[in-house]
């Protein structure tokens, strides 16, 4: 009699414990469930549509009718046979390489400078950088456009005054090279604050006594940088470089608005602008979807290093 009561008691306790544990285990899933559902709806579903659209003829007519006509891989064939696509890709790669190189080299130099200047200058310079960081991109474009205006732009005036030649009424939007160079300047200017401030935070980790010991041993500034500073900065530099590559490859607002002040033509397309003009502006959504997918795949390849590193950090904690 007694043992039997104990068994039922035990069993019910065990059952309760089992349920408790299951409930405990369910907590994290309950916490992420809302966001997973939302992301599936607002991003997963459109991404499914992206793949579907890329195999369909889908223009304005289909947009109104709400259904496309399946055409297999014709969109991809059309894009990959389009010489504008390949020229745009090449231009975007060179553009990205130039932007990233300039951003990272100047950014590193400025971070090193920030360590060397006296406190007052450091506070001034870093506040200035934060101010630049906070400028909305559309605002920055408008300022750039005004400064480079051919008639009253301060850039032409200053360059002439400083003796760089006669820039009176020089049109900065006349050639593709000049247009893209202006865009590069705008992007680098906007990207520097984040890079410099992050690298400066990283430089704080360089042990002072290690540098001093090296200097006592007769190491020159350059050697100290290569042997001590650079290895410590390496992980941050790697992350910043991959982020810059991904951002600059997909950049849209700066080139679209700045070059758009004169004229967007196939000759000055960058990848995002190409996609916008060919897919959205010309209402050829099927072909636009094919371009989008190709572009997303390229960015996915570029992101592998960054995502793997971040996931390792996130998983470890």
């Amino acid at each position: 009699m007694v043992p039997a009561v104990e068994t039922t008691f035990d069993r019910s306790r065990r059952r309760r414990r089992f349920w408790n544990r299951t409930l405990q285990g369910a907590v994290p899933y309950g916490l992420i469930a809302p966001i997973v559902v939302v992301i599936a709806v607002i991003l997963g579903y459109p991404l499914y549509w992206l793949v579907k659209l890329s195999t369909e003829r889908y223009g304005l007519f289909e947009l109104i009718r709400h259904s496309g006509t399946s055409i297999g891989l014709d969109n991809y064939r059309s894009v990959l046979r389009d010489s504008i696509f390949w020229h745009t890709l090449l231009r975007t790669v060179i553009f990205t390489a130039a932007n990233v190189t300039l951003t990272m080299v100047i950014g590193t130099l400025l971070a090193l400078l920030l360590v060397r200047v006296s406190t007052v200058v450091r506070i001034l310079l870093s506040s200035g950088l934060v101010l630049v960081w906070s400028m909305p991109v559309v605002v920055a474009v408008q300022i750039w456009y005004w400064m480079t205006n051919y008639q009253n732009g301060v850039v032409n005036y200053a360059l002439t005054k400083l003796g760089f030649g006669n820039f009176f009424q020089h049109d900065w939007y006349a050639t593709t090279f000049s247009q893209l160079s202006l865009t590069t300047l705008l992007i680098v200017w906007g990207a520097l604050p984040f890079v410099v401030i992050t690298l400066y935070a990283g430089l704080a980790q360089v042990p002072r006594d290690l540098v001093e010991a090296a200097e006592v041993d007769g190491a020159r500034g350059w050697r100290v940088f290569l042997d001590i500073t650079l290895p410590i900065l390496r992980p941050i530099l790697l992350i910043l470089t991959s982020l810059s590559i991904i951002w600059d490859f997909g950049v849209f607002t700066q080139p679209y608005l700045l070059i758009g002040q004169s004229k967007i033509v196939p000759g000055n397309y960058l990848m995002s602008v190409y996609l916008f003009e060919e897919g959205y502006f010309k209402s050829d959504y099927g072909r636009g979807a094919a371009i989008s997918l190709l572009m997303l795949l390229m960015v996915a390849v570029l992101s592998v290093v960054y995502v793997r590193k971040m996931v390792r950090i996130g998983d470890a904690q």
Partner: protein, 281 residues
């Protein structure tokens, strides 16, 4: 006085001068925007520009805010931004707690999702988002834009809030649990108050990114009365041959002001939130 000391002093001065020169170059565009916004028209179009406004005027600001659709579009921006941020922060906070406090199957996959989505270029998403929203008649509607903004605010907020949560010692919660608090009690009494600054910083940064967003708003909102402030500003000079530079710079300043104020307030915290993964890696 030895030469070594003087050499070091000269070098220090050299670095300082260089630092100041770079400060001037970097800040100049912002200065030029403000300076132009307060100048008289004759001074703006003069062939010999002057650095400072001689007779500061607020006429350009008056012109800018009296342009058609300015106030409507400011209102649209505010609605879109606040709804996006409010929904996103709540959802992201829950997910961030799961990431920072629990280990569970599929955790790694979820992290890949959160990081990966942030890498998607926005331009690559405009076509499917536009077509899907058009199917549900949500183009030219603020709800459609809010939904698209959540695609980048959600993952960003999860990751940043997770960083802030990791800064709060787990022991505090465990002690409270031992003292008999429930999970909900621990959340209300310990996590929420301690996370206050992190929640504010993340919200403000989400506010800034959504306020500044351009491409989704440009694609989805065609009706001028439905547009956001950045789209309004982007069309400012496009309409006429002779740009009203003073008004354009005044409008630019007005668009930037809320962002600059907020940014200066939270920059330190958010720089920590953004970089703590990178720097500590």
């Amino acid at each position: 006085m030895n030469g070594r000391k003087r050499g070091r002093f000269a070098r220090q001065t050299g670095w300082n001068v260089l630092g100041l020169a770079i400060f001037v170059v970097m800040v100049f565009p912002v200065f030029w925007m403000l300076s132009t916004a307060f100048k008289s028209n004759e001074q703006i179009i003069s062939l010999n520009p002057t650095w400072f406004p001689l007779h500061p005027t607020i006429q350009h600001f008056r012109d800018a805010i009296h342009r058609p659709f300015f106030w409507v579009d400011v209102k649209n921006s505010l609605i879109i931004v606040s709804v996006t941020v409010a929904i996103s922060i709540v959802l992201a906070f829950l997910a961030a707690i799961a990431l920072a406090r629990y280990r569970f199957g599929g955790r790694k996959l979820f992290i890949v999702l959160v990081i990966g989505i942030q890498m998607l270029p926005q331009a690559g998403l405009i076509i499917p988002l536009y077509v899907v929203l058009a199917r549900y008649h949500q183009t030219n509607a603020l709800t459609g834009v809010i939904v698209t903004y959540m695609t980048f605010v959600l993952p960003f907020s999860v990751w940043t809030l997770r960083g802030f949560l990791l800064g709060i010692p787990k022991e505090l919660e465990e002690a409270a649990m031992v003292d008999g608090s429930t999970r909900v009690g621990v959340f209300m009494k310990i996590l929420l108050p301690l996370m206050g600054p992190g929640l504010v910083a993340t919200s403000v940064f989400a506010f800034i990114t959504t306020w500044n967003e351009y491409i989704f708003a440009r694609v989805l909102l065609n009706d001028q009365s439905k547009q956001t402030v950045t789209v309004w500003l982007s069309y400012f000079s496009g309409s006429s041959r002779h740009t009203d530079w003073g008004a354009l710079m005044a409008a630019s300043s007005l668009t930037a002001i809320p962002v600059v104020i907020f940014f200066l307030l939270v920059q330190r915290r958010i720089a920590f939130g953004l970089t703590q993964g990178a720097v500590r890696g």
